[in-house]
């Protein structure tokens, strides 16, 4: 009994930390409609800043808590800088571009933190006077965690007072309900948005700063917390503060007791809950269907054009080069060529649902990884040859796509993106925690191609043939009735329904088809590397795919191809040239969103 109580209390402590971060995220979303990926980075910065301040200041109660508060305020200021420099310019941009820009900020902050604080884990001092534990019905419970629960409660109360009793709070609530309305009332939106960013960022910083006495400060804190914060915010309802509090409690307890009941699937459990909530209540527990008007103005999509004479010539030339050139390339160049081909198919498969389908996926890596794992598991456990693995991968990934897509394609916009993210995290957690089958973090090794495909030249030809073939097949589908039906439901759901097009079926099938081709790319990736790790389905890989598609431009068919080549090439070069390649990549992403919102291919066209 006392054991359960202590578990409940530690659940409350993690709920308090989660709430601080999620509250900031949800308030920012409510007002600006931006899903801020960089919120986890602000949390991490809060922790690093608090670490530096607390170790630099003399010991004692006042310097410690002063350092924590100062770290939170500094983080708030950094948030304002990000808002003014980047986000302010893209409030009207499509949601995915906003997500991407904030992911660019994540990359920049990661390298910044690395440059300033170094790669090692930093262990800060414990809070003065709170080092010990208290006795709870005979069990020991850390005193600091108890204080943390109190702080969570106090912050919730203060936020509630702020939103109920102050003019700023009333404006924030009004803007959350209907942004245009507040603008029409003559409120200075700029100050409101910047103020909200300060508040949200400071909350993230406070959450991070308060973790210093509990755990080491490190460079993985940002993505670790952001996926949890997303879960809390989405489960609670985007923009809802009480929702965030409720969901933080729920998730905190789920984590505390999940370890007792299902120790093997703790990671999956959280995302499973999120998926279930989104399926049953698509706008979260306390969320409302977004009111007012659509945030971003959507222009009619331009018609799809086949290739004209010059385009045809360029593609033909590129194909000829793909056939003729490889024998003259060294092993390294051949490996890069295979990877380029794989990137092209991966990007094309995502583009298929994003462009013609108008659906956003933030978890496309799940299907890439599903293909990779399917092939690797067949090789490992059934001693299947590469050919069988390559054949089975698209079917396996397609089945996973059918399963996940069944839920994802019902939603739209941010909600759909979040659900795809949740499913990708479920896939990732499964690979990570199901150690007997997947090898967990150690991955599956020895996934080698058949003897004939071992030479790099042969493998490059195989990758080229399958990936370019796959990309061509997808293109073929886009120009077939299926692709037209996909664009039809994107252009006008009302008209599609009125001429007998079952939009759900079309979207679902397209999702599965895209998943299958991503799976083929994943299997080729696995055999190319000789191994598979959970990172093949992690968030960064999903972001890779998104970047390639958006870099190339969603509107054109050649876009994902150009985007994949540009992105993979850029990545390759940056890693070689500079230690700070993440920051460079992040800066490029931000610049791209700011200056070329239609992508490279779109820019060329305009």
């Amino acid at each position: 009994m006392s054991h359960l109580l202590v578990q409940g209390l530690s659940g409350l402590a993690s709920a308090a930390s989660l709430f601080l971060v999620a509250a900031g995220l949800t308030v920012i979303f409510g007002v600006t409609r931006i899903v801020n990926f960089a919120h986890g980075s602000l949390y991490m910065l809060g922790a690093y800043l608090a670490y530096s301040l607390v170790t630099w200041l003399p010991r004692g109660h006042f310097p410690f808590w002063g350092g924590v508060v100062l770290a939170a305020l500094l983080t708030g200021v950094i948030g304002v800088v990000v808002e003014v420099l980047v986000l302010r310019r893209i409030y009207k941009a499509p949601e995915l571009f906003q997500l991407l820009a904030t992911f660019g900020v994540v990359l920049v902050v990661q390298d910044l933190a690395l440059a300033v604080w170094g790669p090692q884990d930093l262990l800060g001092p414990r809070a003065p006077g709170l080092r010990g534990a208290v006795d709870v019905l005979g069990e020991r419970f850390p005193l600091y965690d108890l204080v943390l629960i109190g702080i969570g409660g106090v912050v919730l109360l203060l936020l509630w007072l702020l939103f109920q009793r102050t003019r700023f709070g009333v404006l924030v609530r009004a803007a959350t309900a209907d942004r245009e309305m507040v603008g029409a009332l003559g409120v200075n939106q700029r100050w409101l948005f910047t103020g909200v960013f300060f508040l949200g960022s400071a909350l993230a910083g406070l959450g991070g700063a308060l973790q210093v006495p509990r755990e080491s400060v490190n460079l993985n804190m940002d993505l670790a917390i952001i996926s949890e914060a997303f879960v809390v915010v989405v489960v609670g309802g985007l923009g809802s503060l009480p929702g965030a509090a409720l969901a933080a409690l729920l998730i905190g307890q789920l984590q505390a007791f999940g370890i007792l009941v299902f120790p093997r699937i703790t990671l999956v459990l959280v995302f499973l809950v999120m998926a279930v909530v989104l399926v049953v209540r698509p706008y979260g527990l306390l969320g409302k269907r977004p009111g007012g008007h659509a945030a971003s103005v959507t222009l009619p999509e331009p018609p799809l054009a086949g290739l004209t004479g010059r385009g045809r010539a360029v593609v033909a030339l590129a194909l000829v080069l793909c056939v003729v050139l490889p024998p003259f390339l060294g092993d390294y160049a051949l490996v890069v060529l295979s990877e380029l081909a794989i990137a092209v198919l991966f990007a094309a498969s995502l583009h298929f649902i994003m462009g013609p389908g108008g659906m956003a996926s933030f978890g496309h890596a799940a299907y890439f990884g599903a293909g990779a794992y399917a092939a690797a598991l067949l090789v490992k456990h059934a001693a299947a040859p590469m050919e069988v693995g390559l054949l089975a991968a698209p079917f396996a990934a397609g089945l996973v796509g059918l399963l996940f897509g069944f839920f994802c394609v019902r939603l739209s916009g941010v909600y759909s993106a979040m659900l795809t993210l949740a499913f990708a995290q479920i896939a990732w957690s499964t690979a990570f925690q199901w150690v007997e089958v997947t090898g967990g973090d150690n991955g599956i090794l020895g996934v080698w191609p058949s003897a004939w495909a071992v030479p790099k030249l042969a493998y490059a030809y195989l990758s080229l043939a399958l990936c370019l073939g796959g990309t061509w097949l997808l293109r073929r589908v886009i120009f077939a009735p299926m692709g037209y039906a996909l664009r039809a439901q994107r252009d006008s759901a009302l008209r599609a329904e009125a001429i007998g097009i079952d939009a759900f079926k079309v979207r679902w099938l397209a999702f599965a088809l895209a998943a299958a081709f991503a799976g083929l790319a994943g299997a080729l990736f696995a055999f190319g590397k000789g191994s598979v790790f959970p990172t093949t389905m992690a968030i960064p890989r999903s972001v890779d795919a998104l970047l390639m598609v958006l870099l190339g431009g969603v509107q054109t068919l050649i876009g994902p191809v150009i985007g994949a080549l540009a992105y993979t090439g850029l990545h390759e070069q940056l890693v070689r040239v500079t230690e700070l390649w993440r920051a460079a990549l992040g800066a490029i992403i931000i610049a791209l969103v700011l200056f070329f919102p239609r992508g490279l291919a779109g820019f060329r066209r305009a």
Binding site: P300, E301, P302, P303, L304, R476, V477, F479, A480, P481, M482, Y484, A485, R487, A488, R490, D491, S492, L494, R495, A496, E497, A498, I499, G500, I501, D502, V506, L509
Partner: protein, 245 residues
């Protein structure tokens, strides 16, 4: 052709439509009119499947279609146009009509044969009927509003419908275009024996082209009959013509 019995719908405490019954025969144009908020659109959306009625039945050639989804109702032979045109903006005029034809032929899930390889003749014939064949290659996203209305009509005719549901078919059009479009609709309906049910604000259009009128007021049926009968009805004059004309 279309037979509606005792249709009812409430939103919260508001009874938007109470007890509406109507019939339309093949080749006949029935206009549903009434002041704003009379329940025309609600009524309409229950016929085409976008709303489920609280009570009442909708029968098409004797078959109960009450509460079926719009795409199923379309397959049973009900074409429709929208008050605010809905077409596929990134597809050409021809392709818009071809999508309806492909859907009718249940060939939407084709993955291989390009749409461009389809025989354009059937779609062109439909466009020709509405006078849009010359603009077949233009994307719908750039068309003038009146032309979009014509394209919608062509799309609505693609599955050889028995019934056309047209919500404010001439809204947003210039007066000359209005008359032309309704004259075209009337001609097509009589030639092919299609029943047409339409809502309309423009009284000139209504009295020129409708065979019969049904007047709604605050969700209930006020009057029904030939244009001259309705025009002479004092109740109609009072609530409708009297107040707005």
């Amino acid at each position: 052709m279309l037979e509606v019995q005792g249709l009812q719908k409430s939103f919260g405490g508001v009874r938007a439509v109470r007890d509406v019954s109507l019939r339309v025969a093949g080749g006949e144009l029935l206009a549903l009119i009434g002041p704003n908020g009379a329940g025309k659109s609600t009524c309409f959306n229950m016929l085409n499947g976008q709303l489920r009625p609280d009570a009442g039945t909708v029968r098409l050639d004797g078959r109960d279609i009450t509460g079926l989804p719009p795409r199923v109702i379309w397959r049973l032979g009900v074409g429709r146009t929208f008050q605010i045109t809905a077409t596929f903006g990134s597809l050409s005029v021809l392709e818009n009509v071809q999508m309806a034809l492909l859907s009718h032929a249940r060939r939407l899930f084709g993955l291989w044969r390009p749409v461009a390889a389809e025989d354009p003749a059937p779609a062109l014939a439909l466009l020709d009927r509405v006078g849009m064949a010359a603009q077949a290659a233009r994307p719908c996203g750039v068309l003038a509003y009146g032309d979009l209305k014509r394209v919608e009509l062509a799309i609505a005719l693609a599955n050889a419908p028995r019934l056309l549901l047209m919500d404010e078919p001439t809204a947003g059009m210039a007066p000359a275009e209005r008359v032309a479009l309704m004259a075209l609709t009337a001609t097509i309906a009589r030639q092919s024996g299609i029943a047409v049910l339409f809502t309309e604000h423009d009284m000139d259009v209504v009295f020129t082209h409708a065979d019969r009128l049904l007047v709604l007021d605050r969700g209930a049926m006020l009057a029904e009959g030939r244009p001259d009968e309705v025009r002479a009805d004092p109740r109609v004059r009072e609530v409708y013509l009297g107040s707005s004309h």
